[in-house]
Symmetry: C2
Subunit: 195 residues, 2 copies
């Protein structure tokens, strides 16, 4: 399995206008990260799951989970993925996972609650520009959860929680690139090293 956790510090936690996806707290970044994690040409990576932690108003925190081996009728364009998230946000989320539709789940969890629940299942790698080059350790990566910030990065208190679970801080580029580009490079490097 490969897993990704994308943190949207301003991403909307209620249904939003599909004609203004960036206006929903940069939900476009979340949508593109999900697309790049899951999709290849004419298919979905069945061994990938993506957690999107949405921390914008009015009901933070919420987590939307998408499982590649279950999800149906999803396509890689932003609007399609946004529509799935919108549907998840219309449900009354609680601390237990609720199934929105095949392969899509929603729950009300903070980053601390989420990592307390799932942190033991994965090798957790926090992606940050000043981390160790992912290619140096790629051969040893096993069942990773990559944690990636949005355009705002991670806040200090989020980093503290993440670091208490993280195996290592990894970098995928010396320049500051977009979240979805980090996702593509993680997949590229893991594919290349046969992980």
């Amino acid at each position: 399995m490969r897993s990704f956790l994308i943190i949207g510090n301003k991403a909307s936690t209620k249904p939003f206008n599909l004609n203004d996806i960036p206006g929903a707290g940069r939900m476009d970044i979340i949508c593109r990260s999900i697309a790049q994690a899951l999709f290849i040409s004419h298919g979905i990576r069945k061994d990938v799951e993506v957690y999107a932690l949405l921390l914008g108003e009015p009901e933070p925190p919420k987590v939307v989970l998408i499982k590649g081996d279950e999800v149906k009728r999803m396509s890689p364009d932003e609007r399609n993925i946004a529509a799935h998230i919108k549907k998840a946000l219309a449900l009354n989320a609680s601390s237990d996972w609720k199934r929105v539709q095949s392969g899509v789940y929603v729950a009300k969890k903070s980053i601390e609650e989420l990592l307390r629940e799932i942190g033991q299942r994965y090798e957790i790698y926090y992606l940050r520009e000043d981390g160790k080059d992912i290619e140096e350790v790629a051969k040893e990566i096993h069942n990773p959860l990559f944690i990636i910030g949005d355009h705002l990065g991670l806040l200090a208190e989020q980093e503290k929680v993440v670091m208490s679970y993280a195996k290592e801080i990894l970098s995928v580029s010396k320049i500051s690139i977009m979240a979805e580009q980090c996702v593509v490079i993680c997949n590229y490097v893991l594919d290349k090293f046969g992980r």
Copy 2:
């Protein structure tokens, strides 16, 4: 300079509905490829230009050119980039480049006409799964134009034209990935090797 030519075999050549970007001949692939070529976190790569060759109905062929060092008011979400392309498609295109707005140009050119015009300016690399690993030759790449197909790939007659200009066929992945993922990996590898 780094340049990309994305070929959209069905991509619309007239203004289209921004609420159904995939319905415009998979214009979403074109938009994502442009976004991934140009944008980094909080910025645009000024040394990148992207040619989008649109070959769908009703007025093929058209080429939209976006120059990273000139373009303004563009953001990486699909709808924003689609709106720029839509504006370009509303103009009466001719064989000469017409300026749509700062950094965006449109012309009526086939792949043969386009490569005849610009082919000598670049080292042309055709991206195909069975090509040579891009990392093997990355150090020697200079002023590249990467040619990338959409979900349909290149047709036989297009490949023939491309191969008459191409320096080499390169591969960025052993698995069949999406056009915009190829773009991200090209940027990643060139960044890594300082090209």
